[in-house]
Symmetry: D2
Subunit: 339 residues, 4 copies
């Protein structure tokens, strides 16, 4: 059996998910090396996951090892550079989203990606690999919904993480709620509709976390948009879902409507207790998208082995970032932005 | 507009529901008189409902008033006698279930009912008048389920009433869980299937209320039965639903399955909170069957005005009691009873 | 028993609902007279409902009869004049929404209403009288949701009525989708939040009914708004729900989320068939809001008898119309409108 | 990384599921050899799964290969012999259920298993490894339900397989619906309750497939049972669920109720279409228990590597078979059987 040798950079919360999946769930890959500047992360990789080679430097890792591919799960600011470095070394690349933070460097890295058609590049929009989303996509492709008329996407992080985010925002600058969170939904809209965004108008508030106003952050961000084909789109991002991790997508078509994650049920259990009839919920992204994270890396590895094209391209990363930036601009300037 | 003059006996919990409905929701009826041995009940009728004539004696009420009909909501032990008295006076009769407590007097009263074909007699199986049950019946009649193969009926009283029942059981003798509670489900099985019970086998326990064993009462009673047409039936009665008032009926047919009250949702509200995704529930029978109680009396009044036959007959009362008694016997004697 | 004598003008689809409810479900009111220019409607009232007095002229009706109150269910253009006429005659007034079509005459009629504080005036925002909406309101008032942060309202008419609307639009001018349909949701937002609209931005399309573009009508209308207290609001109106009549309201607060009508379940029946697990749905507004229509007239009659203030005022009608007009303007002028 | 070398016998429908999982989803195992008398199955293993060693004979396979463990997915009649043979060769054993067909040989094989405490033996009750079932178990262990009072288990195969079963029954003898299907539910009852069956009473019919009566098979089999701790149990097995593969378990306790698979939702998609609000369903066991099948083999492999005890023992297989046989006897003899 061919086994793809992977080197991964970054072993934070999401990085750990990828590393564990490569080791425990993907027989035709192996986690051959990791790079991190965090001592504990390297110790974890070595001791818990049995990774043979551990580096403090990404460059060193890709120079010294006989790798087939890299998985980039480092902070967003490093993505474009690390992608380009890996491509130069002839390595296949899986990179977490966003592909980058500003358009100029993103355009450059997309050019690099397109100049290496023999190397697989895949961006980490894992929702596309979730069974529910794939089932929804198949219904749309089968014509079950007719033509799309309206899309609604909610991405609301669990309340339990709110204080952590407030602490983070006190000390650092995030890309803002639209670039951080809505970007996944922007990608879904493009994927489901096959169309591009034409205009965006964004609003927001921080009623649930007034402190955020000091750090120029929103707790709730909302956007009304229209696509090139006139479909109406509503995007809501938030940081305070009491019931867990609420990612929901609604697709209204001329012949029916679909909701994915209307309720983020944890499993098939229903509890009847003093609260009423209760469906327990997924509480965070690793739980909700557990299988999707496995599937996306498996898909990346299979694309390398079978030499098939990637399913989430650099252009997907560029386009979604462009829309997210326009949403932030709309909010900042209090006006409709046309793309 | 014709307005049917009603005299009602009994103004306990269920009696109050009927009295209020006659006054507030049924324009073509009026609550002309009430009879009760409880002083407060008569005061309530006079002051809150504006009932013109109040009696301590049922006999006096039906003798002295120019009534069209009676509503009997007195303790079960009085039903057969009061029904026969009213019929003798030429009054239409609506009686709460059960029609009686033992077969001999029930057979007599059914004979009296059948000897008065011009008088409307209706028994209080209100579930038949619930929108959900009527919708289910219409689906069955339309053939949506094909032929029935299996029926499951749950009737579980809310936990909040358990202590009251334990107190009641300490001081009095109920008919037992099957005669008290399963009788509604027995009627539903007969109504939905159009068939009669062939055999019953009953079990039970009082794990949730061990004190009940002292009073020879069950908290949970279960019965596996078979109908004349081979349909398999499972009946579960209980006194301890933590989530409210759980009345559920399942009908499996050769072409599909229906569940009525799978979750006893209070309304169309869904609450997403720290418990998960919650459907609040109906908490007691007046809430769950609020409309059904109005509809059954409206149906009774309309039958009188339009001279149409009753929809829930004395025979329905007799047959369901017969089955409930057999279930109790099966439990007592630990064997299958054939009817 | 006091019985309020009602005269009703208009017996179209909605008018019939009111007339039937007054006759069949509200014992302390009677439908004493009706006025209509449609012969069949008068015949219906006389023959089916037994209404004693029938007029072709509204003015004649309110002049010649000893009425207590009027119910106005005539075309929207007549509302303001008929309300003022009735108030002048000293009659209590229930009027269907909208209170009027343009702001000048609405302001006048609101002044007339406020000059008659002894007369009950109630506007037909029946959703406020629906059990589910009232339950949601009680949860909000109990603080279950904390402070509101975001509201979403959907009002989507059933597909089965789309062709009728297209025919109507061919021959007549509606007020547009926002004034026709969103007005109910605008009222709900004001009712639930206790706040007023600050800004609106509207979009739309007619992908599901391209013919509507010829008549300057939308099939889908969407609006992103913000309230005076910063709450974010999304309103979606449509004319093509394949699954029935979809009225849904979502309230997100700092401590939880509520959805009312997430799925417009017809009743408590669940059908398991070759399509999957199916909840049958309400198919039109008389079905979905059957009880609410009874409750709102009952509430109006009770307010008259008990001399209590109205629950849906002229100002509620004026404010909601003002917002709906601003939404249409936003759509026409493609810009954010500040109120 | 240690990789457990597995030899598998039987590559029918369920065998294929196991073989694919070992190859595609379990990095610390490899499918080293297979045995089958069906030529196509061996070709499939060789060509599609890349299995190195293929045998026509089970004995030959376990004699000639340096295996660590066997997976037995052969017809039920071979299980006891093949288990004992493998144990003799010092191999760890995973066997599909049932452990055997009659009590004598089962008792023998259980003795063999218990005489080899260093070898892992695991029986294929995969439901225990399903996330929903594991979550339910954790709730019970946490005391969320209080003490159990009543359990209900449904196992209804999809209608689409009914004709295949009829053909099968024409030519062969199954163990009957209780031994074939209810055995999974019997195991769940034992697992959840920690108690043993005390009495069983079974009924059945073949209304949905009258032909089955000729082959002494049931389409619907039902059983009312009581456990040693007085818990009431209802088991329903069927072969004709129109909506898919219906496996449901209900646990009622003194403090709440749980349903697992109340509706066998395929995923998080809800479809709103002309049928109503639809949850698409799982259509067969490989779909519903996809993850559970992976988890049970992963658990077996991990138990070998970590030298931990098995989670589903030979005794579990023996006890569940004993109850299933009693249910069949109860049906045949039309009486209550006490165990």
């Amino acid at each position: 059996m061919t086994r793809i040798k992977i080197g991964q950079v970054g072993l934070g919360r999401l990085g750990k998910v990828h590393a564990q999946n490569i080791v425990n769930a993907i027989p035709n890959a192996e986690l051959w090396a990791v790079a991190s500047i965090v001592e504990e992360e390297l110790a974890y990789a070595k001791n818990e996951l049995g990774v043979p080679y551990c580096y403090q430097s990404y460059t060193e890792m890709i120079n010294q090892n006989d790798l087939d591919a890299v998985v980039i799960a480092s902070p967003s600011g490093f993505h474009t550079v690390q992608i380009s470095q890996a491509l130069e070394k002839g390595l296949h690349v899986f990179s977490e989203k966003p592909i980058g933070l500003e358009m100029k460097s993103i355009e450059n890295v997309v050019q690099n990606i397109e100049s290496s058609p023999d190397l697989v590049f895949q961006l980490g929009f894992m929702r596309r690999f979730d069974h529910s989303y794939q089932y929804a996509k198949s219904l749309i492709e089968a014509g079950t919904l007719g033509e799309l008329t309206s899309i609604r996407c909610y991405g609301i992080d669990p309340h339990v993480g709110l204080n952590d985010f407030i602490s983070f925002a006190r000390n650092a600058t995030s890309g803002g709620i639209f670039l951080d969170m809505s970007i996944h939904d922007i990608d879904l809209v493009r994927w489901f509709s096959g169309a591009e965004f034409k205009s965006v108008y964004a609003l927001g508030n921080h009623i649930a976390a007034p402190q955020l106003s000091e750090y120029s952050e929103l707790e709730t961000g909302a956007c009304l948009a229209q696509l090139s084909n006139d479909v109406v789109v509503y995007l809501l991002a938030g940081r305070n879902a009491m019931h867990g991790y609420h990612v929901e997508t609604e697709l209204i078509g001329t012949r029916g409507m679909i909701r994915i994650g209307n309720a983020p049920e944890k499993n098939l259990v229903t509890l009847y207790d003093e609260n009423g009839v209760v469906r327990p919920t997924s509480h965070h992204f690793p739980e909700r998208f557990r299988e999707a994270f496995i599937n996306e890396i498996q898909s990346f590895v299979n694309a390398i082995i079978k030499q098939t094209p990637s399913t989430v391209t650099g252009v997907d990363g560029m386009k979604s970032t462009e829309v997210a930036i326009a949403m932030q601009q709309s909010f900042d300037e209090k006006k409709v932005i046309y793309l």
